[in-house]
Each structure stands twice: as C-alpha cells, then as structure tokens.
Amino acid sequence: MKEKLVLIGNGMAGMRTLEELLKLAPDKYQISVFGDEPYGNYNRIMLSPVLAGEKTINDIMINDLQWYEDNDVTLYSGQRVSKIDRIKRRVMTDDGLVVEYDRLLLATGSKPFMLPLPGADLPGVISFRDIADVDTMIDTAKSHNKAVVIGGGLLGLEAANGLMIQGMDVTVVHISDTLMNMQLDKTASDMMLNELKGKGLKFLMQHESATIEGKDRVERLTFKDGSHVDADLLVMAVGVRPNATLAQSAGIHCKRGIVVDDTMQTFDPRVYAVGECVQHRGSTFGLVAPLFEQAKVCANHLAQMGIARYMGSVTSTKLKVTGIDLFSAGNFIGDDDSDDLVFKDAARFVYKKLVIKNDQLIGAVLYGDTVDSAWYFQLMRDGTDVSSIRENMLFGQHHLGDSGHGASNAVDGLPDEAEICGCNGVCKGDIVQAISKHNLFTLDEVKAHTKASASCGSCTGLVEQLLASTLGSDFNDTPSKKAICGCTGMTHNEVKTAITEQQLKTIAEVMQALEWQNPDGCHSCRPALNYYLLSTWPNEYVDDQQSRFINERVHANIQKDGTYSVIPRIWGGVTNPRELRAIADISDKYNVPTVKITGGQRIDLLGIKKDDLPKMWADLSEAGFVSGHAYGKSLRTVKTCVGSEWCRFGTQDSTGLGIKVEKMTWGSWTPHKFKIAVSGCPRNCAEATIKDFGIVCVDSGYELHVGGNGGIKVRATDFLCKVKTEEEAMHYCAAFMQLYREDGHYLERTAPWIERVGLKSVQAQIVDDEANRNQLAQRFYDSQKNAQNDPWAEEVAKQPQKYIPIKQVG
C-alpha cells in the first residue's frame, strides 16, 4: 500500500517539492494538498505583472487543477488546516475534515507583517501577498484615486508601480532615508528615487506612521510629526514573517520559523518543512532560488534516497522594479578592512560599487547596468582572487582586454525578432514566450525548451537577462551550487575529491559510492567521470569507450551528414613533398570530396565514410603519419611561425621548439581541447597569445603565456612568466598542462578555468613554487609514458569490426 503524504501549503516551495518527488518516486505516496487560496499553485513572484496589467491570473498558474488530476494528487483548495495531531498522525481542517499522514510536509510560507497602528483594521488597509490583495487593488483603482504604500522595499515599490499603472495617485512612505535599504546603499537609492519620481511616484522619506484614520474605510495616514497624507487605499509592505503558527501549535520546535536541519526535516522526523516558513541554520528565506534548492533536497529525502543536503544558499537580489535594473549581493556596505571600487555616471543613471576584502569580492551593488551581475556573483561565490583583474573589473567581464561574440548587452531594448542565440536561431520573442508559457525558472529549463544558449553558450548572459526581466521581481537565477548533471547533486569538485579520497577506480564504483540516481548515468556525466578517472589514475584506469563521445570513440570528427573528417598530425605544421604526395594519393584512393587546410596548420580530409576509416588510417600509418587528435579533448596542435631559421626578425628557433613541444605533449587527455603555439618574435605570427599555452620568443629567452582563447569569446592570454632556455619553456609547459588536467572541470577551457581560480593561484603553483612545478611536470611525464600510442594504428590492429555494419540485408 502506498504511504500517505500530506502537504500543507499550496505554494511554490511545497509544489516544487512535489514535482521533484514525482520525478524521483512517482508511485511512492498517496498525496493530499491543502491550500488556503481557492486556486491551483500560481507563481507568486508574478503578482506584480498581474497588478501592472501585463499578465492575467491564468498566465501565472504553474499547476492548474488539471495537473492535480493528472498526477493523482488530491487538492483541498480553500481549506485551512487548523490542527496537526502528531500522535495519531493526522491533520484537521476548520470544516472538520480529517486526513491521516505517514509523512507531513509543511510549506505554509510567510505572512505579511502588518504594523499594529490604530485603524489598521479599517477597510481599504491591505497587504500585498496574494491574488485577493491584487483583486482588491485593481477594484479600488476603478473607483478611488489616492493610494499610499507603507514600505519602500522591493514589494512596496512593485505595489506602488502597479497601482500607478492602474491610474492611481501613489505616495510611498518609507521610514529610513534609503529605499530598499536591505539591498541598496544611499547613492544607488538616491538615483532610483530620482528616476521613480520622474515616472510620477511621490515619496515621503524618513516618515514614521502613527495612525490610520477614517470612518467607513481608510481616509488618511498621519505621522509621528503630526503631518498627514490622504489615502483611499493603504498598502502595507513592510516585510514578511515566516508563518509558523500551525507548526508551533502542534509543538514542533520553532524559532523565527520552523527549525529544520540540512535534510529539511523538523524536530519531528515524520514532518518536513520547506520554503519561507522555515528557519535553516539561523536564516529565513524570501527568494525563490533557495526554495527550489530546498525542494530538491526535501524531495530526495521523501523519496528515501537520503543523499542530498541543503547547506544554505548564497543569495543575490536581481530585480526589475518598474523598468529599473538593480542587482545586489553580499556585504555591499563593507567594513574597516574592505575597499570600495565605485563607478558613477549620474546622467546615464548608472552606478556600480564593488566591495573587496583580502583580494576577494565580498559584495556588490549595481544600478542601471546589471549585465555583469552573474559574473560578479560567480567571483564572490568562488572566492576568486581578483587582484590581477582589479583595475578593470569594475567595467565588466568584457573589458578584461578582450572582445568577441557575445559582447552585446542589454536585451530590454531589443525587438522580439532580435536573434539572441546565433547557433540555433532563437529570437528574443521565442524565449520570452517559452518562459511564460512553460513556467520556466532556470537557464537549464530555457535551454531544454528553446535550445537558446544550448550550443556554444556565448548568449548565456543574454538569456539570463531575459529570464530575470521576464520573471521580474525577486528572481534569483544563480543556484548556489551547480551539479554535474541531473544524475547527481554533486559538483565537479566534489566528485573529483571523492574519486581521490575514496580511491574510486571505475565509473561503476563512482556511481555506486556517490549514489548516482541513474544506474547508467547520462551523456553528460559519463564522459566527465571517464576523464576524471583517466586523469586521476593514469597508467591504471582502463578507458571506457562507451562513455566517450563518438569523435573520441572513432578517432575522427563526425560531420553533419554522418561522415567523418580525418586530420593526420603534422608536427609543428612542417611537412614535405613526400608527405604531401602520400596525402594526395590517399585522398585519390578514397575519393575524398574536400581537402582543407585547417587553422592549426594541418590538412583536413573531409567526407570519409565510417567503413573507410580503418583502411585510410592503415595507409596513413604506412606513410608515417599518426592521429592528429583533432577530435579530442586533448592536445590539438602546436602552431608555429618559421622563426630564426628563415625569418629576418626571428629571435629563436620557434619551429624546432614547437615540434619538440608537440612531441612531448601529444596524446595527452585534457579537460577540454588544448592548443599551443610558438612565435619566433613579438610580432607573434603564430598567434600565441590566444592559445591555451603560448610561447613568444624574444632575444633574451621565452615569454610564456596562458589561458588564451580565440573562440566564442576572444581572450588574450595572461602573462605567466619569462624563462631563459627551451628546456625551461618545455618544463613549464608540462607543469601547466598537468595543473590544468588535475584542476580543470571537464569541458572547461583554460580561459574560464583561469578566470575561476585566478591567475595568481596558477603562478603561485607553477612559477613561485619550484618543487611543486617539478612535481607537476613529473606527473605529466609519467602519465605520458603510456599515452603516446597512435590510436589509429591501434584501432586498425585491434578492432576493425567496430567500424563496419553488423550485417547487410536486401
């Protein structure tokens, strides 16, 4: 028989938990839901657009009544649970309905705090919390004119804006001199105040309310200083409190909210709680992202998988108040030991303040230009050492000396037909529509539904902006920790650590020890695990072919028509007539439709049928070629210029060094592709400063550059150090590659890796610490011992059957 689960609270946190639970264990529970409001579950953060007339109630329904029916969930809407009997394990409603439970989930949310002023019970005095409040506001606006909102916080300003759009004359009353003082400093607040006044809102700052007066309904609000303001409608938006009354009356331990542990369990093991009603590690919650994280954890435990923990969320506020962009996170006021970086352009209404302490970003306020909010937030969360980017970071990520595709910003002004995702041809209108229609909350959901930012990812920032502006309000788009994929809640770092600490040696062992949710994993996690095992246990781990992407499985690049491309290695880009003749003959033999010179100084043979691959490799092997690994997350090419052998400007033998470096590094697997170049002088004809590792020869030695990228987002390298000899240059190269192999996340290029960990930490481990450099390099040499076998020759010898059809019929 199914166990009985009762959910009290038909809001976003509780229902999200049910959705997650139904995904994990669809048949475990017989589920009942109680909700005060006579509706299905709606998106509460969208109430402001409803008030502003931009959306209807139907638009913001997440789970309509049909959903409950389809999922076999019993909904008691409009029914208030008045008692929980924990001994008999049942709940009772006002109407005397009794429902038993095996597990109880409390998601009673929060209550608006109402100031205990005389007259607060007069008709026309309301909060801004639910659909009923919105209905009252819209109705009142039809017959009355003057509205007063107490509270200049997020909710108050949204209410004020909505009422103004409904045609009312609105005054905002605020007790301090700073609007949204939980999120903004005085400067940002003053700018916003000016802009909002320009839109027609009135403000009474530093006014403390005293009494509400009126005969049959509210007529005016008087202040402590004796002044007053007329009001036909008075909205109190001075904050919310966790709604723990029911839990308290049932004897469940509560402080400010219902106290839960990291598994979202209350002091009664049969009772769980999520959302704004809980208190976790001393914190209460008001933003949607932490609620969703809690929902995921709680569902995991309700499904008795028992592996997830909620560790609290680093939250930021990114909001759209009346068309004004704001972002705030962390300690944005700072203290005696912190420094402020401040940018202010009052005419453009742009203000940015970054607070830095111990070379780390600890807080940020952005007003008017929030394009880089996700980046700043990431830097805060990762605790990145920002000393090397400090002088430019205020101007945003795109001003770190680089540019490239994806540099456009500010999506608001764009028309609906503007293309956001250039890879998949997705327009702004498509994305906005999908977000509204399918109730999408996260970047991953938008990717899945629209494919926007699902390919190269350069438009991720734009899509995040669209999410924020479409969802509006207190939407928080950055989860505090990012799992590898849907099969696990663990991050890349956590998995890597576990592999080392628990001595896990196979994919199956990892999945079992870390309790993977799908026994086979998926196409995202399996290649990642295969790489981590390979890089952690070189010379020992047996590569799992079936966990590699097709290109690495068949040592060639799949093309759009299912044929492959073959690129033999051409050391340092130097070839000769004999090799060229061999390539020409082989191309003739297999009717190669296209022969193309690549950007990496090699020759690409395109349009090869899978059956022909082993035969062609055999011929190439005979002519002395090995695989170019142009298909792999591995060393690709070492690009060179002609150097001192021919060039009148060349300072060193860049070609010779390039060939030596390629002979040393080929065959090594890396988190993502890895490109090297060697230029013979600072004219840099080999473009070494946009490679993962670049060497620029100078008269006195070799400059080493790291973390460049010429792809989606152009990033010039960071200067690592300068060395005197070829041997040193190669030694540093080996150490750098090894550090990246051990520290990078799978599919993370060196550019984002260095931005994540900070150049300083890379320099500390490679340049400053000689012993560590030697150890890194030694580990690289060791792992190369068994890695430099030509996969083409091996495949021809070992498994030619892999490349041919199992059978032909007809």
């Binding site: 899945a448 086979d520 196409h523 019929v809």
Partner: protein, 103 residues
C-alpha cells in the same frame, strides 16, 4: 500476420551501452544493446537533423544523438521532452544469443 524476423547477428557482437548498424535497402537501422542486455532497433536517423543515432552515447533505454544531443527513447523512438519528434522503431528479439529484428 506472422512477423517476418531477420537475423542480425550474435548479441556479443554489439557492445553493451552501444550499437551496431544494419544496412538495409530502405536505409540504415541502428541496433542497440543496453547495460542490461536488452536489444532495441531504430531507424538510424534522429528526427531532428537526421543524425546517426547508432553513434550516440547509450544509457538506460535512451540514446543521445551525436549531432545535437537530442535524447531518443529506444523503445518508442520518441524524442524525450521537451523536444518533439519520433523516429521509426522495430521489434527485436534475442534467442540463444542471436539477435533478430522485424524489418
């Protein structure tokens, strides 16, 4: 009507969590073998851009297309949500380690 079974080959010739291709006059058919040794067969074209599904990563009863990572259900040939599309599927059976398919 009696099903017309075509012999494909032995199960051991298809890698676990992998696939082999059967050439037929109507086009290629991908024959999959899961980690639990179940066998499925799909027309070897993704409903999205005709990518060869036989070359994808197989997990559970699904395959991720190698071109753009659409995930196709091996049993039904349907794209898993939210993508929409379907490729033809064929009945299969395994007898004494020999794989048959109903073309």
């Amino acid at each position: 009507m009696e099903t017309n079974w075509t012999q494909v080959g032995v199960l051991a010739d298809i890698p676990q969590k992998g696939s082999r291709v059967l050439n037929s006059k109507d086009g290629d058919v991908a024959v999959f073998r899961t980690s639990k040794d179940e066998v499925f067969a799909l027309f070897d074209q993704c409903p999205h851009k005709k990518g060869p599904l036989s070359q994808g990563i197989v997990y559970d009863k699904r395959v991720a297309c190698p071109l753009h990572n659409w995930v196709i259900d091996l049993g039904s040939g349907e794209a898993t949500g939210p993508d929409e599309g379907c490729t033809r599927s064929f009945a299969t059976k395994v007898e004494d380690g020999v794989v048959f398919i109903a073309l």
